[in-house]
């Protein structure tokens, strides 16, 4: 093939390739396809079997399942309430990830936070969180963070303060454990729990080096701040009720100079007030919604 003919062939090849791309784009415009995955499938659920199948490439397979777990979580979180079964594969995916790579620290901690979180942030399965963290302890028995995370799940999600205190005590005796764990366990045993302890625990989590863990903790701290503000607002509303026959409203409270303006939550969304009862709540439009169910105070 002489050089001139070679150039012609290359130009024709480029033109054909360009034509193929143009046709593809035109087809996608005319006949849009539903590329959404219809059903999420997990073919292999046995970590032990998968570990054998992947021979010397367990860690790489763990990465693949980790990416699937992240995508599954993100996909379900963004898909809105229409998804039939929310986060149903999150635990099996994280379980497979950590069986293939037992030192995958972030997979355990991700599971600890999000498996226990209720809808829409997670499947609301603290039992699965604890199971995953117990697995972490078997692999790395001296990491105080896992004992702490189990204590946190018992405290924040299961409201079992005795067991939570026990796990905080276990965390305290691990190497390099921070010195605030024992006092925390003691206070939990003595007076149950209140918002102060929740704030303290989330502040510790907010110091994590993991950006997504920090963001989760920062959101939780803002929610706690909002709960404080709601309490203060309700106290004010109780002290200055509307005149007989009038309903509760922000405009009424501002008009009577009880408040200087309509109150906003810590992220700048106005609070909502129930016209009949005067109860204050965080708006469904707020990024802080839904608010956490708080641990109750012990009598």
């Amino acid at each position: 093939m002489n050089p001139r003919r070679g150039v012609i062939v290359l130009v024709l090849a480029a033109a054909a390739f360009g034509g193929a791309i143009a046709l593809q784009m035109a087809r996608d415009r005319s006949y849009p396809r539903d590329d959404r995955q219809k059903e999420q499938i997990l073919y292999v659920r046995s970590g032990a079997a998968l570990k054998r199948m992947t021979l010397a490439f367990n860690a790489l397979a763990a990465d693949v399942y980790w990416i699937r777990a992240i995508q599954h979580y993100g996909g379900d979180r963004l898909s809105g309430p229409q998804a039939a079964a929310k986060y149903q594969l999150l635990y099996p995916l994280l379980d497979l990830t950590t069986t293939l790579d037992p030192y995958f620290n972030i997979a355990y901690r991700f599971g600890a936070i999000f498996l226990s979180e209720g809808y829409p942030g997670g499947p609301g399965r603290p039992d699965q969180s604890v199971a995953l963290l117990r697995k972490a302890i078997v692999a790395m028995p001296h990491k105080w963070q896992y004992y702490h995370d189990i204590g946190f799940v018992y405290y924040w999600r299961l409201r079992d303060y005795q067991t939570a205190a026990l796990w905080f005590q276990r965390a305290a005796i691990q190497p390099n454990a921070p010195n605030w764990l024992n006092p925390l366990a003691a206070s939990m045993l003595v007076r149950g729990q209140d918002r102060t302890a929740a704030r303290f625990l989330w502040q510790q989590i907010a110091k994590s080096e993991e950006p997504w863990l920090r963001r989760t903790a920062e959101r939780a701290l803002l929610q706690l701040q909002a709960l404080d503000q709601v309490e203060q607002l309700e106290a004010v509303i109780k002290r200055f009720p509307p005149a007989a026959g009038e309903s509760y409203s922000w405009t009424g409270l501002v008009g009577r100079h009880v408040l200087v303006r309509v109150p906003f939550d810590p992220v700048g969304t106005p609070y909502e007030i129930d016209p009949a009862t005067g109860r204050v709540s965080v708006s469904e439009q707020s990024p802080l919604f839904p608010m956490p169910e708080e641990p109750r105070r012990l009598p």
Partner: protein
Amino acid sequence: MRAISTVAINVFRESVRDRVPYNLVLFSVLLIASSYLLGQLTAGQDVKIVKDLGLAAISVFGLFIAIFIGIGLVSKEVERRSIYALLSKPVSRSQFIAGKYLGLVLTLAVNITVMVVALYIVLGYLSWQETAEYKAVWDAPGPDPAMLKAVFLIFVELMLVTALALFFSTFSTPMLSAVLTFGLYVAGHFNSDLKNFDKVVNSQAAIWLSRGMYHVLPDLSAFDVKTEVVHGLPVTMGYLASTAAYGLAYVAALLLVATFIFSRRDFK
């Protein structure tokens, strides 16, 4: 010694002329580079994934080179009948086997070096562009020198696989050699299960048999420390040395048996 080095250099030259190793190296370099993109999909675990993918690529492509070139080392010479010309030269059959083996090991060493350099460049880039706060989450530094421990054991493992392929190549067809070598590679990674067979059966004969197989089959799972180095866990020099010594002893045994079989072959 001169005869061995001449054969070895010729094997290396032949493998360089053969475009397969080039393609594999190019592919692995692309794979390592694309792992950077893959890392963007995950929550802050990009460096771990790049390391896992890089080390796995080095292992897989090294395995392909070891098996697919190793199985043809002897059988190709026999099929092409160039063995007659070779053996008429002042080269003994043992020198021929040793030279063939060392030539392929040299090819593997060069390929692995290229792949490791590519991996360190990608990791160096990732490390350079991240903040100190972000890097604090990593179990181990980006371009971690400790990864060379895993690479070293991958190399010794590939030396063993090459010896297996060469061993089968001395008496079998390339196809059968490939199947047998790959079969032993898989079995070698399950080998540690045989050691613990006594925990699942009561039969003393079965226990002895499994113990025997544990010692006879290559214990390849011992060469896998990829997970440990990626997580910054300690891999002692004693472990490295004893595992490498085991690998080299196994290689020596295979090469000696290969030489014995090859020396008894009649090419008339």
